[in-house]
């Protein structure tokens, strides 16, 4: 069993580090993990779940606002982008946040094509992150099921 645990732990470490290296996550995600403890053992998963719900809701708002056959209310789009930027920043979703920054600029410039492109990208990006994190959580489960502890991953 120990060999299995060790292997899983190594897999987990490598996977987590790669998420940071590939820019999916940033330091704020590390901060988020600090808040998880025995009193709140599923905190990270809970917050991320709220974040992804936020993504669905806000992207929906943006899509509707951009779908106007008449004039597009860019400030309305911008308001949702601002909110998404905030929550992605709070959870350490680096790529999503970066896209929101660009997206916001397009809104301010009333650039329709730019906004539509960003909308597509942000949709792809949050889903990619969701998949990656799901894989990460699955590895954690496997470690625990194999009788091991989830290691603290030091990002340097």
């Amino acid at each position: 069993m120990d060999a299995l645990v060790a292997q899983l732990q190594m897999q987990y470490r490598n996977y987590t580090v790669s998420l940071y290296q590939q820019g999916f996550l940033d330091d704020q995600f590390t901060e988020l993990k600090k808040l998880q403890d025995d009193a709140s053992p599923d905190f990270v998963a809970e917050v991320l779940s709220l974040f992804f719900e936020d993504c669905v809701k806000l992207i929906g708002n943006m899509a509707r606002a951009l779908d106007q056959t008449g004039t597009v209310d860019f400030s309305q789009v911008g308001a949702s982008v601002h909110q998404l930027k905030g929550s992605s920043s709070s959870v350490g979703a680096k790529r999503v946040k970066g896209l929101c920054v660009t997206f916001k600029e397009y809104c301010e410039a009333n650039n329709y094509e730019g906004c539509v492109r960003c909308l597509q990208q942000v949709d792809i990006e949050y889903k990619a992150l969701q998949t990656k994190l799901q894989d990460m959580f699955n590895l954690e489960k496997q470690i625990i099921q194999a009788g091991g502890k989830v290691p603290q991953v030091d990002i340097n």
Partner: protein, 222 residues
Amino acid sequence: MGMATESQFHVLAVDDSLVDRKMIERLLQKSSCQVTTVDSGSKALEFLGLRESNESNDPNAPSSLPVTHQEIEINLIITDYCMPGMTGYDLLKRVKESAAFRSIPVVIMSSENVPARISRCLEEGAEEFFLKPVKLADLTKLKPHMMKTKLKKQSEKPSKEDNAVLKHEIRKEEEPSAIEILPLHQDVEQEPMLSNSKRKAMEEVISTDRSRPKYNDITTLV
């Protein structure tokens, strides 16, 4: 919810974002604070027992606010700046204009680093301005502000003077003092713009690190 939690600080956190509310709640709990979260400035005022201005014109509004609110001791209010309806700044003003609650320290959080916004908040009486995302380390700055209210409650004189004066007048009080909660529009005595504590806050702006964004060119936008 025992009364034995007298030593715990109770913080009221205000943010319209659910994700951020969850974050700030956990951050505060991790810092050993009791937390109440609300999603708007008006709910915050309601929780405190203050009414919004349009309601105070209602002759049918209860003249005495619910007694339960007086028993809820809030040691700090931490609020997001950008919120629909009442902004964090509006909430700050309301609290500071209230005779009963102006002594509660208020901290503003914002995802945007706007120097004019920061100074406006500090001038209005905010103790700190945190840039989001707020980290655990930021919260250590809160303890001194919350300690001040604890000391104030325990001392005889409800004075606006520094801690130094309060230190030798600390006495155990059986009941929270009978704070007269005045409806907002009664004659509230106005504090001079920069009292001691505010000036200290301003000085802290210049000297501290992370939560004080360093800016070179201050473009005064209002």
